[in-house]
């Protein structure tokens, strides 16, 4: 009973915050939730079990805080802060400017820049976003270079933002995926080496492309007057000029140290060394080489994700201590009688895109333990390999949820840089996650990654053709949906919104179908359940996508 009460408190307050009925920062809200749950739980336990149980409650809550990802994240931010302070990002800009003059041309360079966040995989996409978004802006007229049109700049910034604000998932230095890898370590002994990283990266790479296409063909038509960037004047491209970008030598040195630290963390050539040690040493080395000050370093560190993760762990700990997760597990188990296991899992996998918060770590820390219950550890609905497949889909969905969040989500950085109204990129970002990334992460895990992390198990296959086939199928379905949506957009915003919802539901159905096939093979009942679950999840996500942005602006203007 107590578990259901505390779960209800948690969900109600989160939803109220999402709909801006509570306007406090999400970290504050989570700490308040934890306190309320502890008070309610304490009172309940006092009357039912006595003082002794009440005294044990804070202890149980604190036990829910897992320190490894927090310290890894802090160390990662420390290193990225040192890189930023020593001019490492300036050096990167010079290198990118040079690449543009090679046979790769402008198109190839823009593609590489778009995928850089994924390759660097920093612990928070905001770091590379803050460093490189101004560079992207400089490609436009107002930024100085004047080599991209307004439309190109919108797509470029939006796609880069999508890639950046999903890159914290596969990060080896305190990434979101490490939360899930900790649980999978119960069965896969080498899971902590990054069992969830490749599926996320593969999905993010293709998902970024779908977001670019959605922005170009749907968002720009849906919200034609909501970006205040200036376009290039007629005939401008013929007289473009080169803009000189310079970087200090210490920037190049720090970039080399940073890359070396990243490689040592990933490949561990010197044996088992904690990732935190490598990162902190590299940070100190960079600061020593560049003679930076502590003030420079602190300026580059972003504490928000650390606070978000800690607050998420606190709320998760409070829920765990009062039986909230048991209650959620029971609710989901009941849901399986309606949507089946496949349908329930598809809804659960998409839950963080349905409830997008400012940092994905908040709910990931709270909900991954519930997903774990679906496996052999409790309900036994899934085997370990199936749990790994669901976890990969869940984590990429969760990781990318800070992008479309209206609660100070990272996507707002991209919207700010493209001078767009808040909510402009929400549809594109959410679509890319449901339609492309979630199913592809599951496929990659099933047909390749399981066999890499458990090579002796003959059940796990390596089938690149299956990965290629499913990826091509998913991409084709996405392109058709985007193309049809693009052709149906009219001046009627209500009608557009309904059509867009229909497109989302179709994408959700595809996601559910692919996910159920990756879990239960060609079981028809599971496939139908998966499709239903996908439609339900996509409908809930589409509900949050704004009909118009100008209307929001008009409503906010006092009469």
């Amino acid at each position: 009973m107590l578990g259901y009460i505390t779960l209800a408190i948690f969900l109600i307050i989160i939803v109220l915050t999402l709909f801006k009925k509570i306007t406090l920062p999400i970290q504050t809200v989570l700490v308040l939730i934890s306190l309320i749950i502890m008070v309610v739980g304490g009172a309940f336990l006092f009357f039912t079990e006595g003082w002794k149980s009440v005294l044990l409650l804070p202890n149980e809550m604190m036990a829910g805080i897992i320190l490894h990802p927090i310290t890894a994240l802090l160390a990662g931010l420390f290193l990225a802060g040192a890189l930023s302070a020593s001019g490492g990002f300036e050096a990167l800009k010079v290198i990118l400017n040079w690449i543009q003059k090679t046979p790769l041309g402008l198109a190839g360079t823009l593609v590489i820049i778009t995928q850089i966040p994924l390759i660097a995989s920093l612990p928070c996409g905001r770091i590379i976003g803050a460093a490189l978004l101004p560079l992207l802006f400089s490609f436009g007229l107002e930024g100085g270079m004047g080599i991209l049109t307004k439309s190109q700049l919108i797509v470029f910034i939006g796609a880069f933002g999508r890639n950046a604000f999903g890159s914290c998932g596969p990060s080896p230095i305190g990434g979101v995926g490490q939360i899930g890898e900790g649980f999978l370590g119960s069965y896969f002994p080498t899971a902590s080496l990054g069992i969830l990283r490749s599926p996320q990266a593969f999905a993010l790479m293709l998902g970024t492309a779908m977001v670019a296409l959605f922005l170009k063909m749907v968002s720009m038509k849906l919200y034609p007057n909501d970006v205040s960037l200036r376009d290039l004047p007629e005939g401008w491209l013929g007289r473009k000029k080169d803009v000189k970008i310079n970087a200090p030598m210490k920037g190049y040195i720090s970039l080399v140290i940073f890359i070396a630290a990243l490689l040592i963390s990933i490949f561990q050539p010197f044996g088992k060394v904690p990732v935190q040690t490598v990162l902190v040493l590299a940070g100190i080395l960079i600061m020593a080489a560049s003679r930076g000050t502590i003030q420079d370093l602190m300026g580059g560190i972003i504490l928000m994700p650390v606070a978000a993760m800690t607050a998420g762990f606190m709320a998760a700990g409070a829920l765990a201590a009062t039986g909230g997760f048991d209650a959620l597990g029971n609710v989901l188990r009941s849901l399986t009688s309606v949507l089946g296991v496949a349908g329930t899992l598809v809804v659960f996998v998409n839950i963080q895109t349905i409830l997008p918060l400012s940092c994905s770590r908040i709910l990931t820390a709270a909900l991954v333990p519930v997903l774990y219950f679906f496996g052999p550890a409790k309900f036994n609905f899934l085997s370990w390999s199936q749990l790994a497949i669901v976890m990969s889909a869940y984590i990429i969905n969760a990781t990318t949820s800070c992008g479309p969040s209206p609660l100070g989500g990272a996507g707002m950085m991209a919207e700010g840089q493209m001078r767009a109204e808040s909510g402009y990129i929400r549809g594109a970002y959410s679509f890319g996650v449901i339609a492309t990334m979630t199913p592809l992460a599951a496929i990659f895990m099933k047909f390749l990654n399981l066999s890499i992390f458990s090579p002796d198990n003959p059940e796990f296959v390596r089938n690149l053709w299956a990965i290629g086939g499913y990826a091509a199928l998913v991409v084709m379905v996405n392109i058709v949906i985007i193309k049809v949506l693009s052709g149906r957009i009219s001046a009627d915003s209500g009608r557009n919104w309904v059509f867009q919802g229909g497109g989302f539901c179709l994408a959700g159905a595809t996601c559910g179908l692919v996910l159920s096939i990756s879990l239960f093979e060609l079981d028809v009942v599971s496939m139908i359940q998966g499709i239903l679950g996908g439609v339900v999840a996509a409908f809930l996500v589409a509900f949050l996508v704004p009909k118009t942005l100008t209307l929001v602006k008009a409503e906010a203007t006092p009469h």
């Binding site: 198109a107 190839g108 995928q115 797509v155 990283r197 593969f202 970024t208 492309a209 779908m210 690149l464």
Partner: protein, 50 residues
């Protein structure tokens, strides 16, 4: 090796689509986008566990 191939595949496809979405639709520009994607895929493949 298989991880490399998978990432190169994803990189080439996504590079070509991103170039198209960026209004760079001539065969040369699409090919440059795909090449950029190939390089991204190779780098990504190198960074992730095999």
């Amino acid at each position: 090796m298989l991880t490399f191939i998978a990432f190169v595949f994803a990189g080439v496809i996504s590079g070509a689509i991103i170039a198209y979405a960026l209004d760079m639709k001539t065969p040369k520009e699409i090919a440059q986008g795909a090449l950029g994607g190939l390089i991204s895929g190779l780098l990504a493949g190198f960074m992730f566990p095999h």
